[in-house]
Amino acid sequence: MRHPYDTATGTIALGLLLTAVLAALLPLVAG
């Protein structure tokens, strides 16, 4: 099974996913 980083699409998709997760969490953790 290929690692997500082994394709440009996988790398970018992970980046977008992480962005969405962090943007959703940030208001919850911001002081």
């Binding site: 980083y5 394709t7 790398t11 962005t19 962090l22 943007a23 940030l26 208001p27 911001a30 002081g31």
Partner: protein, 166 residues
């Protein structure tokens, strides 16, 4: 703070950031998929693939990462925002998160990618098998930074242009 100095810092931050992350993006465009090196690529230093590797992996982007990171911290410090950003305090939370991501990326360059890259390039003695193993690690390390640059740029933009609660 002198506005011209602030402008120079921001300009430096942009240029160094583009040199640094542009290196990662260039790699993705040139080699979107993982292609394992062959032993011959490493044992024959005149091979086109090894030469291409050498040409890509020079010190420019490593030092650009330090310049970009330092200029960013200095801008925050000059405004008296550094502690608030690092503790994700209120409206400083987006740039604070960007700062933490950028810090992780710089540590990744210097302490994960570079030690392995030195072996791949033959700058540090290693067996061919070890160099091939390290080439996989440098690939994953490089792509980690490409991936992290996406939220990094988002939170840098969000800090200046709003759009997020905080």
């Amino acid at each position: 703070m002198d506005p011209l100095f602030d402008l120079a810092l921001r300009w430096t931050h942009f240029i160094a950031g583009i040199i640094w992350v542009g290196h990662n993006y260039s790699s993705v465009v040139q080699r979107p998929g993982w292609r394992p090196l062959a032993a011959a690529d490493l044992t024959d230093d005149t091979s086109p693939r090894f030469q291409a590797l050498l040409n890509r992996e020079h010190g420019f982007f490593r030092w650009a990462s330090v310049v970009a990171w330092s200029a960013g911290l200095l801008m925050l410090w000059q405004r008296g925002w550094l502690a608030g950003a690092l503790t994700l305090d209120g409206a400083l939370a987006p740039i604070g998160l960007g700062t933490w991501i950028g810090t992780l990326m710089m540590l990744n360059v210097w302490f994960v990618l570079w030690p392995h890259q030195q072996k791949v390039l033959g700058l540090v003695p290693a067996s061919v098998d070890e160099r091939l193993r390290c080439s996989r690690i440098t690939h994953l390390s490089s792509r980690t930074n490409t991936m992290l640059s996406i939220p990094l740029l988002f939170f840098m933009a969000a800090s200046s242009h709003g759009g997020l609660a905080g």
